[in-house]
């Protein structure tokens, strides 16, 4: 008997996903938004692994690896953008200030 049943894992993944979603909606700091995205990605990856374990298929973990690569790319590019914005003299990392075209936010 495994420690986790499939149902429990899905429950866990759902809760973690919701926490990430709430985080991305609440936080205005872009670093925190990226972290929230990572939490959501982890929740989905967990569902893949759980499904793979449930039906005894290696595809679940293959998808996990792919999600990992996706998260790595997303984080690298996102952090790069944050650095770029910071270097261009934007005073805060407020995501809401970058709402106008031409890079001139209201912040």
């Amino acid at each position: 008997m495994p420690a986790f049943s499939f149902n429990d894992t899905l429950l866990l993944a759902t809760i973690v996903f919701s926490v990430g979603l709430a985080g991305i909606l609440v936080r205005r700091n872009m670093v925190f938004m990226l972290m929230a995205l990572d939490i959501m990605l982890n929740a989905t990856a967990l569902v893949f692994v759980a499904a793979g374990a449930r039906w005894h298929d290696a595809t679940g973990q293959v998808m996990f690896v792919l999600v990992l690569a996706l998260a790595a790319v997303e984080t690298a590019v996102g952090l790069g953008i944050i650095m770029c914005l910071h270097a261009h003299g934007r005073p805060t990392l407020d995501a809401d200030t970058g709402n106008l075209l031409g890079g001139q936010g209201r912040g």
């Binding site: 995501a95 809401d96 970058g98 709402n99």
Partner: protein, 655 residues
């Protein structure tokens, strides 16, 4: 044996190109030229060996080589495969032999240029791509070669990229041929969906079996025709070729006269069975070819740039080939393609040598009287000019043009059941074109080589440049005797070579037909001698020159057409994108709301007043929400996504 030699035929120039591009800057000029010549020369030798093998085999023999399977999915498959049959054999010989002569010439011509390695790597790459185009037995594989030659053409037109005019010409050529390529690809996709394969034999069999609907055949043939027209610079795509003369002269000779521009002719000749089923497209081909040959001949008459005259004459001669294709005498088109490759390469190379020795002067009115300074080049140019004009009996051009003319005379276009079109008017126009051809090319000869001395010639033509000119002279004079009209000794080597079973019949050909074809260039020569042959020309400008020049400068109205067809719709699209419709609608809604609520406020009466306040408030909220929809803030977008997801899940849960 043949299975090994055939890929080697393509590999030799390709490897030479790679070696040159890798070793650029590390080996000397002579070594680069030697590598290029050896690569193309090996290819030419292999081509001759393979031709002998093919001809010694059975009459209808082909040499197919499947290299590997490229695409294989349900309903479609494509191979990387080569086929040497008799049609492609002729083309291979033309490409490799003329290519070798031009390469040898180019070693002498480009000796001083710092970019010689780039030049030769592009040239050899071009030969390889052209051989892929010629030998491919699969239309998709042919398309690779088709794009490859377009790329090399672009690279070589813009070879001297310091001058913005040259790069502009290169881009123009690239864009114009690209439009045709898109059309060609559409045609190929149509054929592929109908026939399930793009193997030429399979496609033709499917068309012959009636697997493809007649309308489908017509549309596919039309698309392929557009592709061929763009590649061969025919009406309405003719404007790129004269500008393409910005490249080095050997490029003009090899790519823009002898081989690449004839790729369209070759493609249609390969697919002649397909085109035979599409009668309207055939008639269109013939009419466009006739239009092109007359228009280009008229334009060549008023040009003063030596290379541009030759470029327009190339367009005109390609018009003859398209006329022949449209009339169904594809053997004549291929024959003219071969002789044209000989004499046009000769003309271009001679013109290049003349221009080089006259201090890079291209205006024919500033040249002049060069007969005494360079007798050898004069002889070569006169030989090329007579072959182009088709002076009877002694030149190759006469026989090929005669074959086209007699083919046009006999043709009948069965457009519909009751309405047929005779080829006689087209024959008349082609004959007029022959007269004009002789007129403009001998105008050029008389002005450049006779008359008052203009520029001072310097230097000598090196032997490396002289030998290819001699060989091309021989081919231009004697290359045509392998096929003669029946009125003369009935000799049909060329048509027998192409199709041993059903040779083209020249029977019931009136004698006066050949006679007319022979007299037209002679008349042109005579008129040119009268007008420009004296020391003081009777007329420097022909009547109506100003009008034609203006028309030609405006691209015969084609630029306006391109503007209307391609540029304006694009500008409309960008205008639409700039004035966002959705944005306008939202702004308009807001403005309307404000106006309405203003009116309602003004009513100011009891319940109505209250209603107005509520209404305004509600509309304000709605506008607020609408504004939130695209306020540019990422968090709101995420919220909208989450909300939509919630709603979708709710629908899934509640249903």
């Amino acid at each position: 044996m043949g299975e090994i030699l055939l890929p080697l035929l393509i590999l030799c120039p390709l490897v030479a190109s790679m070696i040159i591009s890798v070793s650029a800057g590390r080996v000397g000029t002579c070594a680069i030229g030697a590598i290029a010549c050896v690569g193309v020369g090996l290819s030419a030798i292999l081509g001759i060996i393979l031709s002998v093998m093919l001809l010694s085999g059975p009459a209808a023999g082909v040499l197919p080589v499947v290299l590997w399977r490229w695409i294989h999915v349900a309903g479609f498959s494509a191979d990387i495969a080569l086929t040497l049959d008799r049609v492609s054999m002729v083309m291979v010989l033309v490409v490799t032999v003329v290519g070798l002569l031009i390469h040898v010439y180019a070693v002498g011509y480009m000796r001083e240029d710092p970019g010689i390695a780039r030049f030769f790597s592009c040239m050899t790459l071009f030969v390889a791509a052209m051989l892929v185009l010629v030998l491919a037995s699969d239309l998709l594989c042919l398309f690779i070669g088709w794009e490859g030659v377009g790329l090399c053409s672009y690279l070589l037109i813009g070879f001297w990229y310091d001058d913005p005019a040259n790069t502009a010409a290169a881009r123009k050529a690239f864009y114009m041929t690209r439009m045709g390529d898109a059309a060609l690809l559409c045609g190929l996709l149509l054929l592929a969906t109908a026939a399930g394969s793009l193997h030429i034999g399979a496609v033709l069999a499917a068309v012959a079996d009636g697997q493809v609907a007649p309308s489908g055949v017509n549309v596919a043939a039309l698309f392929i025709l557009v592709g061929a027209l763009a590649k061969s610079a025919q009406v309405p795509f003719q404007t790129w070729l004269p500008d393409a003369m910005a490249g080095p002269t050997p490029t003009s000779a090899l790519i823009h006269a002898a081989t690449m521009v004839t790729a369209g002719v070759y493609l249609i000749a390969r697919l002649h069975d397909l085109f035979a089923m599409a009668a309207p497209v055939m008639a269109l081909t013939a009419v466009l070819g006739t239009l092109t040959l007359l228009m280009a001949a008229c334009t060549a008459m008023v040009q003063s740039d030596l290379k541009r005259i030759l470029a327009w004459s190339t367009i005109s001669q390609l018009g003859y080939m398209f006329l022949a294709l449209g009339c169904g005498v594809w053997q004549a088109a291929l024959f003219h393609l071969m002789t044209h490759a000989f004499f046009k390469a000769l003309l271009f190379l001679t013109a290049g040598a003349v221009i080089m020795r006259a201090g890079h002067e291209q205006d024919i009115f500033r040249l002049g009287g060069l007969r005494h300074a360079m007798p050898g080049l004069t002889a070569a140019f006169v030989v090329g000019a007579s072959a182009l004009a088709g002076l009877p009996l002694v030149t190759a051009g006469f026989y090929s043009k005669e074959m086209i003319l007699s083919g046009v005379w006999h043709v009948h276009f069965g457009l519909t059941r009751e309405w047929t079109l005779s080829g006689h008017p087209l024959w008349g126009m082609a004959l007029l074109g022959a007269f004009l051809t002789a007129l403009y090319i001998f105008r050029c000869v008389f002005i450049v080589f006779c008359g008052k001395p203009g520029t001072v010639a310097t230097g000598r033509t090196s032997r490396l440049m002289g030998i290819p000119l001699g060989c091309l002279c021989f081919l231009s004079l004697c290359g045509g005797v392998i096929e003669m009209p029946d009125t003369l000794p009935p000799l049909h080597l060329f048509t027998a070579l192409l199709d041993p079973k059903t040779p083209l019949s020249h029977a019931d050909e009136p004698v006066w037909l050949v006679l007319a074809g022979a007299l037209a260039p002679l008349a042109g020569l005579g008129v040119a001698r009268v007008l420009w042959g004296r020391a003081a020309p009777v007329m420097r400008e022909i009547p109506g020159q100003a009008a034609i020049t203006r028309l030609a400068r405006a691209g015969w109205g084609m630029d306006a057409l391109y503007d209307l067809v391609f540029v304006q719709p694009f500008r409309l699209l960008t205008w639409l994108a700039h004035h966002d419709i959705l944005d306008q609608a939202i702004t308009g809604t807001g403005r309307m709301t404000r106006a309405i609520s203003g009116r309602v406020f003004r009513a100011r009466a009891g319940f109505l007043d209250k209603l107005a306040v509520w209404g305004t408030r509600a509309r304000g909220w709605a506008g607020h929400l609408l504004g939130r929809l695209d306020n540019g803030r990422v968090r709101w977008y995420a919220a909208w996504i989450a909300g939509g997801l919630c709603a979708g899940l709710a629908m899934a849960v509640l249903s």
